[in-house]
Each structure stands twice: as C-alpha cells, then as structure tokens.
C-alpha cells in the first residue's frame, strides 16, 4: 500500500528538490564517516580471513581477487546497508514516529499536505539514490583496507594484490552490488517511514517503532540480498 502510494507520488519529488537534498545530506553525506570506518575494517578482515583460508591450498596471488570479489559483490553493499539501517532507518522511524504522536502528521494533513508526498517520497528518493553512492565509496575504501593489511601484516606486495584484484575483476560484479544497494536503500527508507507512521502511544511507542524499523529492515536486507544474488549470480 505504502509502496504503491510512494510510486504514484514520485513525480512530486521533482517539485520538492530542497526536501530531497536535505534528506540526501542526512542519509548520504552524513553517513559517510561511519561507512568509511566500517569499510576499512571490512576490507582488512576479509584479507586476513582469506589469507588464513588460502594458506597451503591457494596461491597468495589470488588474495586480491578474493578480497575484491567479496567486497564488491557482498560485503560492501550488505554491511553498508546494515550500518545505514541502524543509523538512518532508526532516525527516520524515530522522527516520523515523534511527528505522529505529537500530531504533526495530522497537522500536515490539515494544511492539505499529503504526508506520503511530503515526508516519505523525499526519504525514499534519498535512500534509493544515496546508498549506491555510499557503496561505491565503501567498495573503494574496503579494497584499500584489504591492500593495506596485505602489505603491512601479511607480507604480500601491493603489486601482487592489485594484480590479483585485476585478474578476475568484472564490471558486472560492481553493477550487481549496486543493484543490491538500490534495493537496500529503498527498503531502509520505506520500512523506516512505515514504522514511523504506525507509531502509537508516546515515547514508548517511538522506541518500539525505532527498534522494529532497524530489525525489520536488517532482516529484509539479508533476505533480499539472497534473492538478488540468486537472480544475478546464481
């Protein structure tokens, strides 16, 4: 229902560019530091883990390949989406939930403004468009993190790592990851708004909606990750 309503009202986003930009800033730009920190360590740990699993079986020149694939296809999009769900999904649910319990959503309606058009659509467009951008940053930084760990702690030269990375690097993998990011961004915004709108009962209700938004969007991210992976890479 909500989703259909969003799609119908999408053109309204073009008339409210300022609202969309505000949300893009809040969801995208302001999430960047968190995403970057997460990504450095994700790349680092994937290098360490891959090296451990490779030992004695697979030559280390494939380490870059393994880190690159893992990051671009899976870890970049999914971990970015999960931290953004925690940060942004929760804040959307809390903000709209508070607006609901303090009658601000009713007030919007009495001013003849459609809450879906005014509140949900800008968040949806921002989520949908900013998550892929965050994932591109995340992919890049995670690979750098993997490279740094390989060079400084695993004794693998940067030449070997980058060669491995290039060897089986397909642009379609990156696009697959970005398709995931689009879907995840939509999920985070829609679930956050949905939980916010159905908030009832004061501060306690806002707390519950916030929790539900994070839990539900995290679960849906993982489920849709599996479905998209099966469709694109299966």
């Amino acid at each position: 229902m909500l989703f259909k309503n969003i799609v119908v009202n999408l053109p309204a986003a073009f008339r409210r560019v300022r609202l969309v930009f505000e949300q893009m800033l809040a969801m995208g730009v302001n999430s960047l530091p968190l995403v970057l920190v997460t990504s450095v360590f994700t790349g680092g740990v994937s290098a360490v883990q891959a090296a451990y699993q490779f030992s004695d079986y697979v030559p280390m020149r494939y380490l870059g390949t393994a880190v690159g694939k893992a990051v671009v296809i899976e870890l970049g999009p999914v971990l970015t989406a999960l931290v953004v769900a925690g940060r942004v999904g929760a804040s959307i649910a809390a903000e709209l939930g508070t607006m609901k319990v303090t009658e601000q959503i009713d007030a919007l309606e009495t001013l003849a403004l459609d809450p879906v058009r005014y509140l949900v659509v800008p968040r949806f467009v921002a989520g949908f468009s900013m998550l892929p951008v965050l994932v591109i940053f995340s992919d890049f930084i995670a690979i750098l993190g993997g490279l740094a760990v390989s060079v400084f702690f695993l004794g693998i030269s940067s030449y070997t790592f980058l060669n491995g990375l290039k060897m089986f690097f397909h642009l379609s993998d990156v696009f697959g990851g970005l398709v995931k990011a689009l879907v995840f961004g939509g999920i985070i915004a829609v679930i956050g708004c949905y939980q916010g709108f159905r908030t009832e009962g004061g501060a306690e209700g806002v707390g519950k909606s916030t929790t539900r938004a994070v839990v539900l969007s995290s679960v849906l991210i993982l489920i849709s990750d599996y479905i998209i992976a099966s469709l694109l890479f299966g």
Binding site: E95, M99, T102, E103, Q104, D106, A107, L108, E109, T110, L111, A112, L113, D114
Partner: protein, 249 residues
Amino acid sequence: MIEIKNLHKSFRNKPVLVGVNLTIQKGETVVIIGRSGCGKSVLLKHIIGLMKPDSGELLIDHEDITKYPKSKLNQLRQKFGMLFQSSALFDSMTVAENVGLGLSEHTKLPEEKIREIASERLKMVGLVGVEEVKPAELSGGMKKRVGLARAIAMNPEFVLYDEPTTGLDPIMADVINELIINLRNTLNITSIAVTHDMVSAYKIADKVAMLYQGKIILVGTPEEIRNTDNPTVRQFIGGSSQGPIPTLE
C-alpha cells in the same frame, strides 16, 4: 454551515461517538464541552476529515465530506485551519516556516511575500521577532499562539480549536480567548472549539454543546447553559464530583 448528522465512531469495538447531531451556522462560534476522553477531539478530527465515521453524515456547505476522495478533501482543507491541543508545530522548521508552510505549498506567492504574511499573522497573535526561532525554544503559550497563526495563515473560513486554553496560565488563556473572539469579529471565521475550560467556553461561545456518552445532550447559549436544570450539565459546569456523571471509568 456545518451539519453533523447521526455520526457514529468506534475504536476497537469501544463506541466513542454514538449518534452525534449538531449544526453550526456560518460565522458562529460553537464550543463543545465534555470530560477528557469523551470524544471531543475525535469529533473535531471528523470535521476536517482526519478520521472517517463508521456511519452518519457530515455536511459542509451542504456537501457530505465523508465520501470525498483524498484530492477533494485536500481542496476542502484549504478552507480550514486547525489549532491542535499540543500545538503540533513542525519542530524541524522555524516559526515563520511553520506559519508560511500552507502558503508556500499551495500558492505561487514569492518567498518574501509569504514571510511578510507570516510576520503579520504572528503579530495578530501578539508575537514579534520570533520568526527565526525553532518551536522547541518557545513556551507553551507561545507555541499555542504560533499554532493559531499557522491555522489562520491561509485566511480560512472555518477554524477548529482543540483545547485552545488547556495547560496555559489564566492570563495567557484569556489572551487566547480574546484572540479567538477577535478573529471571529475581524475575519468572520466560523469556529468550533472543544474544551473543558468553562471560563473560556462562556467567554468565546455563541453556542455551547455538551458531549456526553457519545452524544450531544444539550445545546444552548452560554446563558442557557448556565441556567440549565439538566443535572449532568449542571454537574459538569459546576465541577462537582457528586452527580449523575460517574467518576470511575
């Protein structure tokens, strides 16, 4: 003119409104009194289409709005203003943006003009120099007045007041009462207020209606209400715990 005919509404099988009938003439101020939680705010929310009744009719200028689609409802709402109990100001916006929001969304007026109207409306409610302040920094009385400025920003024909004086000190409550009377006199606004503040009800009302057990049990001028021999109304306006209204719920 607003006509409410046999309006019913239940929440989770608990009936709140059971056949409300009330007529409000143009330019009139009607105050609906009743205990907290008796459904006064619910009735108000029906009048502006925020809630749909289970059955019954709600005619505004002879058209039944309960069957209106959303787009038509939004057109109608531009003729309305509503002051919420908790003011319901948008806390992400400044005071001026709050007051000007309806205008900037529904008219093509330039931004400076909207700011000018917002300042003028704020002045009408006795606020000067608060345009750039966020609602969180205002006192309860100031928030109510900003809410009122927002409600009248679009020159509405009808204004709905949900507990306009609740939670205010007596002086500020009287300031709000005077404002409501002034608005009716200067802009010829049809007003419906719900309250349990009898001082306010006597002062602003042309007609007082008492909502009790989901029905309007008495409608009259403030004078008629003051002199009624209906025991339920007498208990309420006298503020007594003894009488036909049960205090246990």
